[in-house]
């Protein structure tokens, strides 16, 4: 009987641990957000985070979008050819990029680049007593480290998504006009005509949500990092995994909310 119950007990422990972690993250998120609205504010930290998260992520997000848009054009052309619908390439590339691939791939690339670096930086600060030093210098770590990063990521990722969308559509345009024989003017007209404002808007809202998730996970796992190099390594890995999974889950939920009939 005990042997029979052991796997159930293990499963129960996993569920309880997961629920406890979700609760801790929810409390952390609430506290972090509350510090965004309460002084003192640290504008230098915010601007530094904006540069780090937004500006320096541009190359990787841009490259990802460019190749994704290009591959998407090829795929849609090949798929559309099966029922003589090759002409949908420009509109499907545009809609696919701005609604889904731009925000999701941009979010995942930022998760890989930013959640890891935030978790590693804050985790290292924790194990080298720099967080304690902040406190003794009358500075609240949540205000100084977490709030600026979360605000910066929430504002910067939608901008990255917008840039990524444009580059992705341009990637599709390059392949469409260069390889697939589309007329450049027709390609652009089809892109413009079939794209609605909410297609773009919904992607940007997703981008803001993903930016929030990325910075939150980086800060949470950094602040709760274990001791030593192994602790920081584990925190970094957990931040990237959690941010990536949560981005994909949030993407599904937001798509349901925005587009379910």
């Amino acid at each position: 009987m005990t042997a029979l119950l052991a796997p159930l007990a293990a499963l129960g422990r996993i569920v309880f641990d997961a629920l406890a972690a979700a609760g801790r993250i929810a409390f952390f998120a609430t506290e972090a957000v509350s510090h965004i609205f309460r002084p003192p504010w640290y504008p230098r930290e915010f601007l530094a985070a904006l540069m780090q998260i937004g500006w320096f992520s541009l190359p990787v997000v841009g490259m990802t979008a460019l190749f994704t848009g290009a591959a998407l054009a090829l795929q849609i052309y090949a798929g559309g050819a099966r029922f003589s619908a090759e002409s949908v390439v420009p509109s499907i590339v545009a809609i696919g990029m701005v609604r889904e691939l731009g925000p999701v791939l941009g979010g995942l690339m930022v998760a890989a680049r930013v959640a890891s670096s935030i978790a590693a930086e804050i985790g290292t600060m924790k194990v080298t007593e720099q967080i304690d030093a902040l406190v003794t210098l009358s500075t609240h770590p949540m205000k100084y480290l977490t709030a600026p990063r979360i605000l910066a990521a929430t504002l910067a990722v939608p901008v990255l998504v917008a840039v990524g969308d444009s580059i992705g559509i341009f990637g599709g345009y390059l392949v469409g006009t260069g390889r697939l024989g589309f007329n450049p003017a027709t390609y652009l007209k089809n892109t413009r005509d079939f794209l609605e404002l909410w297609d773009v808007g919904s992607g940007l809202v997703k981008g803001a949500a993903f930016g929030f998730i990325v910075a939150l996970m980086g800060c949470y796992y950094g602040m709760t990092s274990g001791r030593g190099a192994q602790g920081v390594g584990a925190a970094t890995k957990a931040a990237v995994v959690a941010a990536s999974v949560l981005i994909l889950a949030a993407n599904y939920l937001l798509t349901e909310v925005f587009f379910s009939a």
Binding site: D132, V135, L137, S138
Partner: protein, 248 residues
């Protein structure tokens, strides 16, 4: 004056502080000795509120810690951390002037930089060091910068956590002398935790030994060598034989 009564702190099943009672008069330099893992750092962190104690009281000048708000409470303290705990992303002068650049007593950048350079000079560092980053400094220089940061806002109470750990004996002597000079000239109340006996002799007015979660012995520095407490005698002689269990 710092008065600690019956301070208790456990981590899981491990009882680290088991009723610590200690009094540090204003302007005195108290050094707390004890083996590794006996809770010396935890004691300092409990006073600063970095670790929440399970029980006991901590009074600063007769008032409970944090009476008058957390920022005002912490503004009375300076702390030199064991590893320096300098902020990697900030230059040396920005580290030293960290408190001066933020909070209610904020100063202009030019004024804060001037004070930082003055404090760096006080700990024996040239003004050229001000624009370097912590990663560009040696261990001894990092300790000096940490010391400059601890004294930058002229606190009433300064904590030193293992100030000579990781330094060669000559640099350790220099840091000890600096600490003694600065504490004396500032008239600050100092609490130092260390297991380096040269630090104890250079810095202390009084010594307390923490062992088994309680203050095992306390007395003026000049009675340290004459006490017949077997724990203190074993500790200062560095002997493996005695009441303090030594793993070999």
């Amino acid at each position: 004056m710092i008065e600690i009564t019956g301070l208790r702190k456990s981590f899981g099943a491990k009882r680290v502080l088991d009723g610590v009672t200690l009094s540090v008069p204003r302007g005195e330099s108290m050094v707390i000795i004890g083996g590794s893992g006996t809770g010396k750092s935890v004691l300092l962190k409990c006073i600063l509120g970095l670790v929440q104690p399970d029980g006991g009281t901590i009074l600063i000048d007769g008032a409970a810690a944090e009476t008058g708000g957390r920022e005002a409470f912490l503004a009375r303290f300076g702390m030199l951390f064991q590893g320096g705990a300098l902020f990697d992303s900030l230059s040396v002068w920005q580290n030293v002037a960290f408190r001066l650049l933020r909070g209610s007593a904020r100063k202009s950048r030019a004024e804060a930089r001037g004070i930082a350079i003055e404090k760096l000079r006080r700990v024996g560092l040239a003004p050229e060091v001000a624009d370097l980053y912590p990663a560009e400094l040696s261990g001894g220089m990092q300790k000096r910068v940490g010391l400059a940061r601890a004294i930058a806002a002229e606190p009433e109470i300064i904590f030193f956590d293992e100030p000579t750990t990781g330094l060669d004996p000559i640099m350790a002597g220099v840091i000890n002398d600096l600490i003694r000079e600065i504490v004396t000239e500032m008239g600050a109340t100092a609490m130092t935790i260390t297991h380096d006996m040269s630090s104890v002799r250079a810095i202390a007015d009084r010594v307390a030994m923490l062992h088994g979660g309680v203050i095992r012995w306390t007395g003026p520095i000049d009675t340290l060598d004459t006490t017949d407490d077997p724990f203190v005698r074993q500790f200062i002689s560095g002997s493996a034989e005695g009441p303090i269990e030594a793993l070999r």
